[in-house]
């Protein structure tokens, strides 16, 4: 059951900050709280209050009793303290929050009124109460309180943050963004808070938010910078790292900005924005000239499949490094980038130039990279030689690819399954191998090799031809051929393949996907009637397909398109 603590002391003037009041007790209480020993912590916080640590002790009691679910035990001590220190804003805040936690809305209203009555022009009561009301999404009540606040203070400027939160809670995103703009003008460090508040804006409202947060030339530089940071954080939270960087790159280049760019790179990297992070690090390097920044940028570039960018950056930074560091940090990136581009010979020459600086362990790693480079160049024999020189496992990703290019599906399966990161290419290869019942398929090898070499036209044709020799995976190969053709912009060829899949392989898993892509292609071509027919065909033919909701959504959009509405409005 609940145990209410009573505090039988009087504490006149105890709220004035003292040098070290109750420090020892506070430390002990915090340790107990961090160890989740809340009952013990509450007792020690009580002692701390007795020793004069009023504010910290009371906040500690609020936390610990909250953790115990005994919020009502907070009321006696805080009410006792308020009798002697009625104007203390921390104690008043504790009281309001506790009453809210207990669901005593009427009492919370009375507590707010009492606090406000002490000094109607004091902004603190309004701010605290509005915050509590918005936590409960009581936007009407919060709006009323804020209007009282504006009337009492003679203006809304002091409550820009609260208005911003209110509008955001109400879904009035334009107004919220405008209010945050005003708040940021007063306090540039509100950028994080503002972006968090506005991140819930739906896609349809984001242009309005962007507009409201646009800095004007007449604004002070600190305000402009803060608005830019806010925009960038928002774009990142909305899943657009490129747009975020575009906004952030407008900041004037200086040391403070460089740190902002580095911090952004950290966030962008975690938000799947490797290229945006790379650009930010490169920009920071131009200010700080720290090679570590460029090396990190190059690694991100390689990870994001921009081999040319990685090569440029790694090559640019090499002269700034001593030979040992260049061999250890820049050389692997340059070799990896060259291999991705199929420039294996250049990579070999580069490795040779570093001679003794390259360790045996590095050489073995480079050998695997060179093997991949020779694959990309189309020279399988040299790829095998490089892979053999690299030693390593008989079954690894490189050997798996080599086996697949040879048409040896069993060996390919064994090697590709070892990949730690299952790239889309590996997933596709394994998906095909799982469908094929044969151990060898020469035509398939040629098709995957063409794809690895970037010859998508040849790859698409080869996959289509291979469908004949591997009938149990024919629909898969035709679907793959169509996807490759569509990716290179050959929609005519893709359309023919999708039609073939739908008409000749209606019972396969690829048929609904083909029908959906066929319909989308027709829609892109402006043939609304044909697209409608295809979407309907998908829904009616494969009603249990996971793609049916997408088809229904597309049908609704077709039906509700502006000129379709004209047909509806008779």
């Amino acid at each position: 059951m609940l145990t209410a603590l009573t505090l039988g002391w009087s504490a006149p003037n105890a709220l004035r900050a003292q040098a070290q009041p109750g420090e020892g007790a506070l430390r002990r209480a915090l340790e107990l709280e961090n160890a989740a020993k809340y009952r013990e912590a509450a007792l020690v916080y009580r002692d701390a209050i007795t020793q004069g640590a009023i504010v910290q002790g009371m906040l500690g009691l609020e936390r610990t009793f909250g953790a115990l679910g005994q919020e009502d035990s907070v009321l006696p001590p805080v009410e006792t303290l308020l009798r002697t220190s009625p104007r203390d804003p921390v104690l008043r805040g504790v009281l309001l929050r506790t009453l809210r936690a207990l669901g005593r809305d009427a009492a919370a209203q009375r507590a707010f009124d009492a606090w406000r009555a002490l000094d109607p022009r004091d902004a603190a009561p309004y701010r605290e109460y509005v915050r509590i009301l918005l936590m409960d999404r009581r936007t009407g009540a919060a709006d009323s309180v804020l209007r009282q606040a504006v009337e009492a203070r003679g203006g809304a400027r002091d409550f820009a943050t609260e208005f911003a939160d209110l509008y955001a809670t109400m879904g009035r995103w334009d107004a919220a963004a405008a209010a945050w703009r005003d708040a940021i003008a007063d306090d540039q460090y509100m950028d994080q808070t503002a972006s968090y508040s506005l991140m819930g804006a739906p896609a349809a409202s984001r242009d309005g938010v962007r507009q409201a947060l646009t800095a004007t030339p007449t604004m002070p530089l600190v305000t402009r910078s803060a608005l830019i940071r806010t925009r960038a954080l928002l774009e990142l939270r909305w899943g657009s790292p490129r747009d975020a960087w575009r906004a952030l790159s407008a900041l004037p280049p200086n040391d403070t900005t460089a740190q902002t760019w580095i911090d952004f790179a950290d966030e962008a990297e975690h938000a799947n924005g490797a290229l945006a992070a790379r650009d930010a690090l490169e920009a920071a390097y131009r200010v700080r000239h720290d090679p570590a920044l460029v090396l990190r940028a190059a690694a991100l570039s390689l990870r994001a499949s921009d081999a040319a960018g990685a090569l440029r950056l790694a090559t640019e930074v090499t002269p700034a490094l001593d030979s040992a560091r260049a061999a250890a940090e820049a050389l692997p990136l340059r070799v990896g980038a060259l291999a991705e581009q199929g420039k294996a010979q250049e990579a070999e020459a580069l490795i040779a130039r570093y001679g003794a600086h390259v360790t045996d362990a590095q050489r073995r790693l480079f050998a695997r990279a060179l093997a991949w480079g020779w694959i990309r160049a189309g020279d399988i024999a040299r790829a095998r030689k490089a892979a053999a020189e690299g030693g390593g496992e008989n079954e690894d990703v490189v050997s798996g690819w080599l086996a697949l290019f040879d048409g040896d599906l069993d060996a390919a399966r064994a090697g590709l399954r070892t990949a730690e990161v299952k790239s889309p290419e590996i997933v596709t290869a394994l998906a095909f191998i799982s469908r094929a019942k044969v151990a060898r398929a020469a035509g398939i090898g040629a098709a995957f090799l063409a794809l690895a070499r970037g010859d998508s036209a040849q790859a698409s044709r080869a996959f289509e031809q291979a469908a004949v020799s591997v009938p149990e995976a024919a629909s898969f190969l035709l679907g793959l051929s169509a996807r490759v053709a569509a990716a290179r912009g050959d929609e005519t060829r893709a359309l023919a393949l999708w039609r073939q899949l739908v008409e000749q392989y209606p019972t396969t898993p690829e048929a609904p996907e083909a029908d959906l892509e066929w319909a989308r292609a027709l829609q892109r071509r402006g043939d609304r009637a044909a697209a409608t027919a295809r979407f309907e065909h998908l829904i009616l033919t494969w009603p249990d397909s996971a793609l049916v909701p997408q088809a229904r959504e597309a049908l609704d959009r077709l039906r509700l398109a502006p000129d379709a509405v004209a047909r509806t409005d008779r």
Binding site: G140, A141, S144, A204, R559, R570
Partner: protein, 420 residues
Amino acid sequence: MPTIHRLVALCAVLLASRAEAQHLLVPMDDAQANHLKAYGVTFNALTEGVRAEWLINYRGGAFLLPDVPFVRRRASLDGVTFEAINDAAVNTIRAEIANTNADAVPLEKAPRIAVYSPPNSPPWDDAVTLALRYAGIPYTRVWDDEVLDQDLSQYDWIHLFHEDFTGQLNKLFLSYRDAPWFIDQRERDLNTARRHGFANIPALKKAVAAKIRTFVDRGGFLFAMCGATETLELALASQNVDIAGAYSDGTPMDPDADNKMDWANGMAIVKAHLEMSAGVNAMSDIDGHQVNVPARRQPLGTFQLFAFSAKLDPVATMLVQDHKSVIPDFYGVTTSFMRNVLRPAVTILAYEDGAPWVKYIHGDLGKGAWTYLGGHDPEDPQHNIGAPPTDLALHPNSPGYRLILNNVLFPAAKKKPHKT
């Protein structure tokens, strides 16, 4: 084969075919995947000349349709759940209906629907047009010219939404006087007024209100939501009284307007009081929530649908068909209706427990009927001007939107049943 054996074989074939499905039951309880489009499927069937039945109070207000290919196709395309049943199953259902508080209402003809809506889209949505378009129910858009010049009896059902029939443009002048869309709207309405020989917008809108009343009186069905409910009543009661602020007609309100209102000319209100201050964003005390007056604003709660006797009160029962009986409330320019201003003959269809206001009301006028639903958008409780439109694809089972669509189908009932 002897003749008797041939006859037996023929009978067996006939019996076998009759045992197959002949009907489609579209449940409207929680088994339904898309309640809103189910109305569209039923409406579409009626449009194609097929008769349907509305099984009110049975499985959430299920629909019984013939098992014909185009109905199956439409239901499949729209993701509407249906069950193929035979005559025996239908008979079982009818027996259950006979023994419970349920009824089967024949639906014969698809109503001709008109939506009173301005030519240019204002920066707010119309929940009814959203529902109609989502469900695939066609409608005709009418505006002041059509109401004043055309014979409205060509329609069975007219919907009103956000329009301010007092001619004060919803008092948006207070906050949006410089907004381009507001200026356009005002100019458009002024031009219309002049074209029809009216001195100002309030005079125009009052004339439109009178025509709509006549439409109902002569047998039409009216469904109004949001601000149209309250302002229609005010306009009808003030045909000879100046209740509009100076910004809309150049003259201030008649200071004695409140005493000069002729409430007998309205449909739902017995007596109410006007908001006499032009600067206060409210029209009268009809609305219980007063959302745009911060000092008076009431919080949202939930409202409860009244349970009627399906056999004795089929009209009211049709209007409250839903798979939920308690629905979260939603704001509008007019959110609710105070009980104390309603005529005694008004049927209360939904109410908030313990509150002095009600949410959804219905009544008769002459040969026709009207229904009012407070609020703007059942799935956007805090709706504000400029907010993006509700995507009903995300709310296919909205109990609030079902109330709107109940009103669409209700005029299709075979005959207008009368309360006994």
